[in-house]
């Protein structure tokens, strides 16, 4: 993936102090892994979600929450939402979110901001790379303060659609902040890793949908996890349905409330708007935790204070369009991967917006067969805002002992590009029911073993076949009404035939047949399938506890 890993400050592996950084448009977070356990570090303000904002007041630099507060009074000298500008030319950036802060400018084939970052009144042009470097320095400083050692290397998460240029720009920015970038990892994979490190049975085969719902963008990835090897099957990106869209809903709501008692629209004046925006975001966060939230701003507009409350139900109602947008986006990503909602085993909600309970509920109804990992549906869920930083920290912990060159060679495309099975491989039972042993989209080489109980003594046939899944749609006729209790029933309306969708296996090519003779009663048969990198298959079968067994080869296609 990242071949441009810089070795400029090639720290010796022994001297490395590594952190994981989730470097976002809206927020950053840093995590450190100690003994295979990752922990997200709070900065000096006590925030674990550090707003990715840099602000200058008379030459003094502020970051995080303190900088965010400057959006109201000092927006011209505050840089926000700039991550996606890295490594881009001016023509291809979307300056929408930076409207309420320092505006991006075109500057020598890159993007820059005109800010007054010195005590004197001169404004200087700071490139986006420089801004990122300054922010990295602050993040590293926070981590160093926490751990007591100078942090000098990091694993950083990036969206799946980052171009090579963007990656290079990010690495340069980090290197300039004296951070060696060990690896750039994809955000959804970091989230999966954070969960898999927690579970003992991380080796299971599953299809995971990672919905990373952030502040300014939403990214969805459909990931096939096969025995700890992850493959991205499809991705979807969206810049309309994201956290700020929910903020806008609340802004509009409270702005209308305000207009009811006052004459001006707070959205028309920049400072009022900034206040409205900040408080709306705070209200949104409060609504993810409680069922009621306050909204109160001093001197919102025309010097009038404003305070109001909103309950969660109302919020969910007025923001329904945005929630529906999320659902459509995620469903679209699953379709793009040529899968059905029933094929999904797990849904990981990541990113700050994922705290919203309604989104988790929508996911649960969209994916009836899947586990939705979000705070409101699963009590053991990890804080969605911290997932990526944790994953990055775990990866950092894993690779920090390796030489930079070693890491580069291992992440080389020649290593990461492997064949993936098109169909599942499994065995047929007596009544021709397919049971998968190796799932489709498994990276080869792969090996799986299953134990099949054979209740009857005697000889058995093991048929190794390929199987494809498809969705069977059957309509259930409404139950005929019971004559006994049909006294004036009022539920006539929902008597439409219901559609039931279920996943069934279709038996494909027969790959091999094998026989095991003379099995004892209640014995067990062990079947091991080993698919080599060139798709040659080795099948071994034996009776558990028995002697001998057999071994057969299927040649590569």
């Amino acid at each position: 993936m990242a071949t441009t890993e810089a070795t400029t400050n090639g720290t010796m592996p022994n001297d490395r102090h590594t952190i994981g950084i989730s470097f976002g448009n809206s927020n950053n977070s840093i995590a450190i892994a100690v003994d295979d356990k990752a922990e997200v570090i709070a900065n000096e303000d006590g925030d674990r979600q550090i707003p990715a904002i840099l602000s200058y007041v008379e030459g003094e630099e502020y970051t995080g929450q303190q900088a965010k507060a400057q959006l109201i009074r000092n927006s011209k000298n505050t840089v926000a939402y700039f991550r996606d500008f890295l490594g881009q030319d001016f023509a291809s950036i979307d300056p929408t979110h930076s409207h309420a802060s320092a505006h991006p400018q075109e500057h020598e084939s890159t993007v820059a901001f005109n800010i007054q970052d010195k005590a004197d009144s001169e404004t200087s042009t700071v490139t986006v790379s420089e801004v990122a470097t300054r922010l990295f320095k602050r993040l590293a400083q926070s981590a160093s303060d926490y751990s007591g050692k100078t942090v000098n290397s990091a694993v950083i998460t990036i969206p799946t659609n980052f171009s090579d240029k963007q990656k290079a720009a990010l690495i340069t920015a980090a290197n300039n902040a004296d951070l060696e970038v060990l690896q750039l990892i994809h955000e959804p994979i970091a989230a999966v890793l954070a969960y898999d490190a927690k579970n003992e049975h991380s080796g299971s085969d599953k299809v995971v949908v990672v919905a990373d719902l952030g502040g300014t963008r939403s990214d969805v990835a459909v990931v096939a996890a096969r025995n700890g090897i992850y493959t991205i099957l499809a991705t979807a990106h969206d810049y309309e349905f994201a956290g700020t869209a929910l903020d806008v809903v609340l802004q509009d709501h409270f702005a209308k409330e305000f207009i009811k008692w006052n004459t001006t629209d707070p959205r028309e004046e920049a400072r009022s708007m900034a206040k409205l925006k900040l408080e709306s975001e705070a209200t949104k966060k409060a609504l993810s935790i409680g069922t009621n939230a306050n909204f109160s701003v001093e001197s919102l507009a025309e010097g009038a204070d404003f305070s109001s409350t909103i309950n969660r139900l109302r919020y969910e109602m007025i923001a329904r369009k945005v929630f529906d947008g999320f659902s459509r986006l995620i469903e679209g990503a699953v379709k793009k991967a040529d899968l059905d909602v029933l094929d999904i085993d797990e849904v990981i909600l990541s990113g700050g917006t994922s705290h919203t309970p309604k989104i988790a509920r929508n996911m649960q109804s969209l994916f009836p067969k899947a586990t939705v990992l979000a705070p409101s549906t699963t009590p053991t869920a990890i804080n969605p805002s911290e997932l990526q930083a944790r994953g990055a920290a775990l990866q950092a912990n894993l690779i920090q002992e390796y030489e930079a060159e070693d890491i580069e060679q291992s992440t080389h495309a020649a290593v990461t590009t492997v064949k993936h099975l098109t169909n599942a491989i499994g065995v047929l039972s007596a009544d021709d029911v397919f049971t998968p042993i190796i799932a489709a989209e498994t990276a080869v080489p792969a090996r799986r073993t299953i134990h099949i109980s054979a209740p009857a003594a005697g000889d058995v046939l093991i048929k190794i076949v390929e199987g494809g899944s498809h969705i069977k749609i059957s309509t259930i006729e409404p139950k005929p009404k019971d004559e006994a209790d049909s006294d004036d029933s009022d539920d006539d309306s929902d008597e439409e035939p219901e559609e039931q969708r279920e996943k069934v296996w279709k038996v494909g090519t027969v790959l091999a047949e094998a026989s095991i003779k003379g099995i004892k009663k209640c014995g067990k048969v062990e079947v091991m399938i080993n698919v080599a990198a060139d798709l040659a298959v080795t099948v071994t079968a034996r009776e558990v506890g028995g002697k001998g067994g057999l071994r057969g080869n299927i040649t590569a296609p």
């Binding site: 894993l398 026989s515 095991i516 698919v531």
Partner: protein, 444 residues
């Protein structure tokens, strides 16, 4: 690896005669695989990398080779906006958003109602990148965000399924005008009308919409098509053309009035639309050569049936008439024949009667010729007795026997010969039991 999965299932029993070397038979090959990129993350990947590398180092060339084969999961975000932007459109005012063509604003006018949500999002993003006012301001031009607002409004409408439907409902640019009769001739008829109905079909609640077909479509297809459009279930609605309802808390009555007006207008438009569609279908059907063809075929088939039926009826009538005539003729013939027979019978009878009379005269004459069997002049008594007996015999025998007897007697004049014939006759009659012995003494 000691890890294994337990599976509950019954393995099939080994079929009879299954035999293979080493108890294993390879029968097929694994389907070709997809090349994908695995994520270089996690402990299991480290193991994989170790296995894959085996202390080998890869060159840049290997990387390029490997990357070429990988199946793409990321879409290409670049690419230009294909549609040129009309300068008139760029100077639009967003306040007039109801009159704006949202698809054209986003550069999607060739897709219109067919544009996917993904396409809309992409188009929006491209337009934002180009037209964001902050960018223009940075480039030094005046702060003019008119068109940007148009873009935002267009996206807002098109990304909201409800609003998009409302807009699509009144999107005249997606409509296809019905062709004039002059234009729609021959094969062009099907092409032009198919386009019209394809556009109309977008409003259908039931999808897919049947196709218009071409000159060779079967009757079933054509009938299905017209039936579908005659019972068209449309989602088309006309909220988009509503008059603006005045903002709340100003004048409630006015608001209600406008709402009511809007509602009525919507209903009216909906009715008009249904009528329009019906009219359209009528028009198409009227000009549809296939319908004419089917009608002709149907009427030909019907006529054939009718003609057959009529001919059969005619034939039946004629047959009946002929039969009746034949019957009458036969009756007449029979009658005539009977009449002739009767006449002939009468004649014969008369003839027979005459013959009998004649024969009887012969019989009587014979006894007279035999001088009443008396020697010399017979007295009256003898004559009487003989004649009486002759009468008795005559009464006992039928005309044929009389004729036979007459035949025998005819020409005989001698007394004894006559007597012998009579005596023979009387004996025969006595033998036959028709005469009693001694009843006719004179003739023995």
């Amino acid at each position: 690896m000691s890890k294994h999965t337990e599976v509950e299932l019954t393995l099939p029993a080994l079929p009879q005669g299954w035999e293979a070397e080493g108890n294993f038979k390879a029968l097929g090959k694994v389907t070709k695989a997809t090349e994908r990129s695995i994520e270089p993350v996690g402990p299991h990947f480290l193991a994989h990398a170790r296995r894959a590398r085996h202390k080998r180092t890869f060159s840049e060339d290997d990387k390029i080779q490997a990357e070429k084969n990988v199946k793409k999961v990321e879409d290409d975000d670049s690419g230009e906006i294909s549609e040129p932007e009309d300068p008139m459109m760029l100077s639009r005012d967003a306040k007039d958003w109801k009159a704006q063509d949202h698809y054209a604003v986003l550069g999607l006018s060739k897709y219109r109602y067919k544009a996917t949500e993904e396409q809309i999002k992409r188009a929006h993003r491209k337009k934002v990148l180009r037209h964001h006012p902050d960018k223009k301001a940075a480039a030094g031009s005046t702060e003019d965000d008119g068109f940007f607002k148009c873009i935002q409004k267009a996206t807002e409408v098109l990304l909201d399924p409800v609003k998009r439907r409302q807009f699509d409902s009144v999107d005249e640019r997606a409509e296809v005008e019905p062709p004039s009769k002059k234009l729609a001739k021959g094969d062009k008829f099907y092409k032009l009308w198919a386009a019209v109905f394809k556009a109309e079909g977008r409003f259908s609640r039931t999808q897919p919409v049947p196709k218009f077909g071409d000159a060779n479509s079967t009757q079933e297809v054509v009938e299905d098509f017209y039936n579908f459009f005659y019972t068209f279930d449309s989602w088309r609605s006309f909220e988009y053309q509503d008059e603006d309802v005045p903002d709340d808390n100003e004048n409630r009555d006015q608001k209600r009035h406008v709402e009511k007006k809007n509602n009525n207008a919507r209903k009216k438009k909906k009715t008009e639309d249904s009528a329009r569609l019906r009219n359209l279908v009528d028009q198409a059907m009227a000009g549809d050569e296939r319908i004419k063809k089917f009608r002709q075929e149907a009427s030909a088939a019907k006529n054939k049936k009718k003609n057959d039926k009529e001919a059969a009826a005619k034939k039946a009538v004629e047959d009946a008439k002929a039969k009746k005539e034949a019957d009458a003729q036969a009756a007449k013939d029979a009658e005539e024949k009977a009449k002739v027979d009767k006449e002939q019978g009468k004649k014969a009878k008369e003839a027979a009667k005459a013959a009998v009379k004649k024969n009887k005269r012969v019989l009587k004459g014979s006894v007279k010729d035999a001088n009443y069997f008396a020697d010399g002049a017979p007295d009256a008594k003898v004559i009487d007795a003989v004649l009486n007996d002759v009468e008795i015999v005559q009464g006992k025998i039928d005309p044929d026997e009389i004729a036979a007897l007459a035949g025998k007697l005819n020409g005989l004049k001698v007394k004894d010969e006559v007597k012998a014939v009579w005596s023979e006759e009387v004996k025969r009659l006595i033998g036959a039991g028709k005469l009693k012995d001694g009843e006719v003494k004179t003739l023995v």
